[in-house]
């Protein structure tokens, strides 16, 4: 039995502490916003926040996430999160959308740490988030737009 705090709720779960957090979220808690894309920390589709920091949930064992605050895009809130989602919507960033929960969660972490990121800062922070549909230009633009909105 392990206890995970997800989106503000404590869950006591009968899962192996070795089960990747991604599958606990998706298969046990039915929280499907974090996506499976590679399973090896290569794509960022599974990105959630652990204690406010972007983390690849496919590569975090559930046992290592006890005593943390886990947040998925369903519950992420605050000025930065709102600014990011709004910018994403107003620029119509998404195509298939499958990578976008992860992109948005990574972008929120970036903007929490750096309120005025340059293109190079954005590339560095976002380079591990793959978008097979190639929406990168709009992601970059949306991050700049969100940065302006929170300034």
């Amino acid at each position: 039995m392990i206890r995970l705090n997800v989106n503000g709720t404590a869950h006591d779960l009968d899962v192996s502490p070795e089960m990747p957090l991604l599958w606990v979220l998706r298969d046990r808690l039915q929280l499907t916003s974090a996506k499976y894309g590679c399973g090896r920390a290569l794509c960022g589709a599974c990105t959630v926040h652990i204690d406010g920091e972007a983390a690849r949930s496919c590569s975090v064992m559930a046992g290592d996430a006890v005593h943390t605050e886990i947040t998925t895009i369903e519950a992420v809130a605050g000025k930065v999160a709102e600014a990011v989602k709004t910018a994403w919507q107003s620029l119509d960033v998404v195509q298939c959308g499958y990578c976008q929960s992860g992109q948005i969660m990574s972008a929120i972490t970036l903007l929490n740490a750096n309120k005025t990121p340059s293109d190079a800062d954005i590339d560095a922070a976002m380079d591990g988030n793959i978008c097979r549909c190639g929406t990168y230009l709009r992601i970059r633009q949306a991050i700049h737009m969100a940065a302006k909105a929170i300034a």
């Binding site: 089960m19 998706r26 499907t32 794509c43 195509q95 298939c96 499958y98 978008c131």
Partner: protein, 728 residues
């Protein structure tokens, strides 16, 4: 055609194959007429045959929302927004009231008018809906007018509809759609409708927000991977490492010993492990021991295959095109150009790996799937389970990308889940999951291809002969589709992009050679154009230089009687600043290609330093007829650049002793953000019928980059992916 008359027929920018009536009962897919070379042939079935009952395609609720029942699959290309735009335009609905849902699997109502069955692909969605969806909107508007006339007892001719409001000025009556919907949608469907002239359009041509933006930025969008049914088991399949290998025996004791593993069953594609959750299923699969019979398996390397391709090309091929006398022209040539191009096997690697959910019940079967060729998937499941297609209900969901992979006429993964369900033999919902490794190693690749070009110039630098040999594994030879889609040995998808070139080449011979292997192949975003355009546009660039001419001027001379093509070439060149000098180490390259009745030119700016290729900027010009939503067109070109760039620079599937050497996004790495060039898209203003934009952004990218690399370095890279090392 101005696209404004109701009785007007669609020109079919066809994927040449009109997939008709997946005849499951007969035990084989019956695919309909094969229409070669898009622009030269228009299929009778492609006409929009109104009247269409608006009730089939729209639902208008009392809260005024207008829900499009979308007959096409949304894999990111923006089709839900595009089709809703066409309906809203004629209906006079405000954009903020538009919603969508996916159509159920009823081909009679929701068929792709070009395919004849339900399906999405071949850049046909907007093309086949362009008239139909506007007719639907117009018919619904007329039904509102009729309903208001009846309710208010006023002449229909005095009723106006605007912005979701039906009004009669003289009496001052007004009603919003919601108030009249119940009556309106019961009115007779008008036999004829008149579509608005382009000057009256309010939504078409505007940047309207995508209808799927909010759900996809809040985690609420549902993909089939996200379907969770009570008691659902997750199945992963251990497939052979070698294509063509089969299960000899397997030992599942260790797998079954894992807590949470529920079942292990053999299926035609391998051995399936079913568990209560994905992670346990994956661990169970790892614990499985399978003995494979590899006696008949494919073990050749790509090098072996290419050597055989080369030997094949030394002989005479099947005539895919013969215009004038290529050999005589070549014999007279003042200068002869010869080149060979090879293209690797490529995986599609959509961001969402393949998966779907099946649930067998007393009423039949339900499938949840990001389903691109619904009619074919339905027939495939029916066949495996011994049911009738009408017993298979498909719940279509968003697809996390496809690039061709989710539209497999062989229905590989759909059949696989049906086999798993059959082998499990009890009623439990099952989700089939492919891992990224399964996806990369799983076949259905863009085929390995070789092009050999021999072209001659006369003393004036004009092309006087062109012989083009293409060796390619056909998508259809050796499959059940061969009889309907391959004619005299020629598979159109192997030679497209070459035989249909818009360039005026008088003495032109194209020979086709069908290579064979056990590697399953499939169309990959832009299909044959993904290699045909590269060979053509590289060769044209080289010929221009051989002729001592500017590559853009050389192309324009070959497009003298093709004003639409020439306009696209000119626009891209002009916007890119073609002809300006660039600093050392930088080069600018041009490419132009037309496919699916959409024309795209690209100018690439490339920097080469220490054998590293950096693409700085792509300027694209596009003519896709009426630009229904210019922002989505722009996004599709941006996306095509992002998608195709990694294929140009590094992606390839290779084999060691028959085993695929790539596994995941590290050794088959898509484009990353830091590599993404700036992309500018310029759209030609046009009133020609809207075509499509999902694929045409892919073909010109690689040749534009290759031509830019030559401009920067004087070194010519021909084969893909570009061997940057050679620049060192």
């Amino acid at each position: 055609m101005d696209g404004t008359s109701a009785a007007h027929s669609l020109s079919a920018p066809s994927r040449r194959a009109f997939l008709q009536g997946a005849g499951a009962a007969a035990g084989a897919f019956v695919l309909g007429c094969f229409v070669p070379f898009g622009e030269r042939a228009v299929a009778a079935g492609a006409a929009a045959q109104g009247p269409f009952d608006p009730n089939v395609f729209v639902r208008i609720a009392s809260d005024n929302t207008v829900t499009l029942v979308c007959k096409h699959f949304e894999m990111g290309q923006g089709v839900t927004t595009g089709l809703a735009t066409l309906v809203a335009e004629e209906l006079e609905a405000p954009w903020s009231d538009m919603r969508f849902e996916f159509a159920p699997n009823e081909a009679a109502l929701y068929k792709n008018l070009i395919f004849g069955v339900m399906g999405t692909g071949g850049t046909t969605s907007i093309a086949n809906s362009w008239v139909q969806m506007r007719q639907v909107g117009a018919a619904a508007r007329m039904m509102f007018v009729a309903a208001a006339a009846e309710r208010w007892r006023v002449p229909a001719s005095e009723i106006a509809v605007e912005n979701g409001v039906v009004s009669h000025d003289r009496s001052g009556r007004r009603a919003r759609f919601g108030e009249l919907a119940a009556e309106a949608m019961r009115m007779p469907v008008p036999a004829e409708v008149t579509l608005k002239p382009p000057g009256a359009w309010k939504l078409i041509g505007q940047r309207l927000p995508r209808l799927d933006s909010v759900s996809k930025t809040t985690g609420r969008a549902v993909f089939s991977f996200d379907v969770r049914r009570p008691g659902m088991l997750v199945a992963v399949v251990r497939r052979p490492d070698l294509f063509g290998a089969t299960v000899r025996s397997f030992d599942d004791r260790e797998a079954r010993a894992i807590d949470g593993v529920v079942d292990v069953v053999q299926v035609p594609s391998g051995v399936a492990v079913l568990a209560e959750d994905t992670w346990t299923a994956l661990r169970g699969r790892e614990a499985l021991k399978v003995d494979w019979d590899t006696g008949k398996a494919e073990t050749r390397s790509v090098e072996d295959m290419l050597a055989e391709y080369g030997a094949l090309a030394d002989a005479k091929g099947l005539p895919a095109l013969r215009r004038g006398d290529a050999e005589a022209g070549l014999a007279r040539a003042a200068k002869v150009y010869e080149a060979e191009f090879t293209f690797p096997f490529l995986a599609h690697a959509p961001m969402e790996p393949l998966n779907c959910v099946i649930d067998l019940s007393d009423d039949g079967v339900e499938l949840w799937s990001g389903c691109q060729l619904q009619s074919i998937d339905q027939a495939a499941i029916a066949r495996v389970l011994g049911l009738k297609p009408q017993h298979i209900k498909i719940n279509p969901l968003f697809g996390g990308g496809s690039f061709g992979r989710r539209g497999n006429p062989m229905a590989d993964w759909t059949k696989e889940i049906a086999h798993v369900a059959k082998a499990v033999g009890r009623r439990v919902p099952i989700q089939l999951v492919w891992t990224r490794e399964d996806d990369i190693k799983g076949g259905f690749y863009r085929p390995l291809v070789l092009h050999r070009v021999r072209a001659g110039l006369d003393g004036g630098g004009r092309i006087i002969g062109w012989r083009h040999k293409i060796v390619c594994q056909s998508l259809f030879v050796g499959t059940p589709l061969e009889s309907s889609l391959v004619h005299d040995g020629i598979d159109e998808t192997s030679v497209e992009g070459v035989v249909d070139t818009p360039y005026e080449i008088g003495n032109f011979a194209v020979e086709s050679f069908n290579a064979q292997s056990l590697i399953p192949v499939l169309w990959w975003r832009s299909v044959g154009n993904s290699h045909g355009a590269h060979a053509m546009e590289t060769a044209i660039d080289e010929l221009a230089r051989l002729a001592g001419q500017d590559p853009v001027a050389f192309r324009l001379a070959l497009l003298a009687d093709k004003p639409r093509d020439a306009a696209v070439v000119k626009l891209a060149a002009e916007r890119a600043g073609w002809g300006q000098a660039l600093p050392a180490g930088r080069g600018r390259g041009f490419a132009y290609h037309s496919c699916y009745n959409t024309r795209v030119a690209m100018v690439a700016d490339v920097a080469v330093a220490r054998s590293a290729i950096k693409v700085d900027r792509i300027v694209a010009a596009v003519d896709c007829g009426v630009a229904v939503n210019p922002d989505i067109i722009t996004a599709q070109i941006e996306g095509a650049v992002g998608f195709a760039l990694s294929a140009c620079l590094r992606n390839q599937i290779t084999f060691a002793d028959g085993v695929v050497q790539q596994t995941n996004f590290d050794d088959y790495a898509p484009t990353h953000m830091s590599e993404m060039p700036q992309v500018e898209v310029h759209i030609i203003a046009s009133h020609a019928d809207a075509t499509g934009i999902g694929e045409p952004g892919v073909p010109p990218l690689a040749p534009a980059i290759g031509n830019a690399i030559f401009a920067a370095t004087g070194k010519r890279l021909r084969s893909l992916p570009f061997a940057a090392k050679a620049l060192g």
